[in-house]
Amino acid sequence: MSTPELDALVSRSYRHGFVTDIDADTVPPGLDESVVRLISRKKKEPQFLLDWRLRALSHWRTLREPHWAHLRYAPIDYNAISYYSAPRQSGDGPKSLADVDPKLLATYDRLGVPLHERARLAGVAVDAVFDSVSVATTFKDKLAAAGVIFCPFSEAVQRHPELLEQYLGTVVPYTDNFYATLNSAVFTDGSFVYVPPGVRCPMELSTYFRINAANTGQFERTLIIADAGSYVSYLEGCTAPMRDENQLHAAVVELVALDDARIKYSTVQNWYPGDEQGRGGIYNFVTKRGECRGRNSHISWTQVETGSAITWKYPSCILRGENSIGEFYSVATTNNYQQADTGTKMIHIGANTRSTIVSKGISAGHGQNAYRGLVKILPSATGARNFTQCDSLLMGKHCGAHTFPYLEVRNPSAIVEHEASTSRISEDQLFYCLQRGVGAEDAVNMIVSGFCRSVFKELPMEFAVEAQALLAVSLEGAVG
């Protein structure tokens, strides 16, 4: 295929780039104690939470933005960001879907996430977070009947403060890192899940994050607790309007799995990636960590990262419980000028803990894609095992793939395996498909999907199809 044809094909369309025109309550840009107090007051938080936020803020002031990742971007002015923006509403906010602003419902319809329960996928409950607040959560009653708590974080603050006080910050402490500390000070909303002992959550839980307002950041916080012997599968999706300015998204996700519990956490991240010249797009600096606190507990992270101008995230597992299992399955694509530095940390503490890492990086256009992963086996982790596989696929001549694996093994009985490969979509593979009558775009999608297959098969079925379609869009025309 000739170069002009290729160039013409390398165009991408972002299908979620619209803005909802809605009256918003937005605090002026800037970050100081008064902003933190204001957010806490708006959320009617108990004293312990305000104190925690303020400790985070003062700690944050001692930190410097980290620059060890393989990323390049203009400096972020943290005082130019507004830390709270919410659609204006009358009174105490919506009691049910009937009270939710129709413009918001229309927004989620347009995003393909209808909030009316009869229109929803029958097996999926959704919490919809719009800028700094949750606007609706579906299927709450059905979940409550099973004893499952699934609600906006702000609501959990009011109704389950004891659970929050017990678990908040126990996996990602407010001192953890620059972005997590910032989040701890100013986080606004997010989802809260508690699954009681022995309960298998009867449906998929899902949160859909939407950034709408300009010049704001989104700082959500999610906490999922799976009590002994329980199971939950959770999925998050993310989109934002197309804008020439960069917007910051700095989330924290904490997972806690107790004895014999299992949490499956899937992400389909499609924040606005910026345009073909690399203007605009979301800066996605996210801290996600799960702790297998109990024996035989199991946490799996599956992520499909197609959006954002910059992705900096390392969903990790602390394998404290004996025989616990941590898994990380990732597909990260970078096209145009997108940059991703992503991977995981597997910290083996308990005996006979096992971890699996499968990372698939796809780079096209001028995209830069780095895998960064740590496997740490502590002296107590007798019999620990890790298997890591990271593969990179390059499309075109201007992109890059990088692999930074770190290994720290302090127990001689551990078995650690690492496999890595870098390849291009070969002319021969492409021609083979063409010769069988498959068109070029379809052939590339087929080859890329094949490359990602071992990750896609980990996604809940309803979302595997969506993820595959999303991948096709994000690599539209990137035949190389």
């Binding site: 295929m1 070969s426 002319e427 021969d428 593979q429 021609f431 083979y432 498909c433 063409l434 010769q435 069988r436 009558g437 498959v438 068109g439 070029a440 379809d442 087929m446 080859i447 999907s449 094949g450 490359f451 990602c452 297959r453 071992s454």
Partner: protein, 258 residues
């Protein structure tokens, strides 16, 4: 022979092709009618595979002069996938591995692309599976092959049988088989030959590109051509292949050079 049958299905006229600055085909002409099986033989480097690739539309080959028509259409004006959908199939000498892409999925996509072209309804998964099953039996291919990645971890012989399986499912009008016999033991050779013979019919034609004549014991050609140094230097019936088997290629290429 009727007038329609007299019109070749594939007609190559004085084809000159350059690859990396070198003229590799120096004026090849070939006419293949429906129902015929032609064998193109020749020493290594004579341009046999180049001819197959050029007909299938592989990038990287520059057409210097000449023309190719396929059922009256200008074949060289078509993109590779259009040629495939029009009924041209290339059985590769070295079929490439495409990890993670399901063998059956690729084949179903290919078949339905061809069926759309022919304005036939697409096959659903059940109809497709029924069709493929009958062909896998003929090719002595275990059904588990269908669920594996395309050629992923296949042995050399398995890859070749998989090529013929694809051909049987797609039912092309023109099959170009590039060294399909290489790397096969005698049992596999018979299976492959059976497969090829099952597709022989008055509506189709087959061009076998081969170095050795042993495949031709099982798939008996109507015509044999010798390609040497970029030219067809001799054409004949199957006895030419037997003569080549006995005497090698040197005498014929020397005659051509003289």
């Amino acid at each position: 022979m009727s007038d329609a049958a007299a019109q070749p299905m594939l007609e190559v006229r004085d084809l000159q092709v350059r690859v990396g600055g070198q003229i590799v085909l120096k004026g090849v002409s070939l006419a293949v009618r429906a129902g015929e099986v032609h064998a193109i033989m020749g020493p290594n480097g004579s341009g046999k595979s180049t001819l197959a690739y050029v007909l299938a539309g592989k990038p990287g080959y520059e057409i210097v002069s000449g023309s190719v028509s396929f059922e009256g259409r200008d074949l060289l004006a078509l993109a590779p996938e259009e040629r495939a959908r029009a009924g041209l199939f290339l059985g590769f000498q070295y079929p490439v591995e495409i990890p993670g892409v399901n063998n059956a999925y690729l084949l179903k996509t290919a078949l339905n692309a061809a069926r759309r072209e022919r304005r036939l309804p697409e096959l659903d998964a059940f109809e497709f599976l029924a069709l493929v099953r009958s062909k896998t039996q003929l090719m002595h291919i275990d059904e588990s092959f269908l669920g594996r990645g395309v050629n992923e971890g296949f042995s050399g012989g398995e890859k070749k049988r998989n090529e013929i399986l694809q051909m049987l499912v797609l039912e092309p009008k023109l099959s170009l088989l590039d060294e399909t016999d290489s790397g096969l033991d005698i049992d596999a050779l018979k299976v492959v030959a059976n497969g090829v013979n099952s597709l022989r019919s008055p509506e189709r034609c087959i061009v076998l590109v081969t170095h050795y004549q042993r495949l031709l014991d099982h798939v008996v050609p109507d015509f044999v051509h010798v390609l040497a140094r970029g030219r067809i230097v001799r054409s004949g019936d199957r006895t030419l292949a037997l003569e080549l088997e006995k005497r090698g290629y040197d005498w014929i290429t020397e005659q051509a050079a003289a």
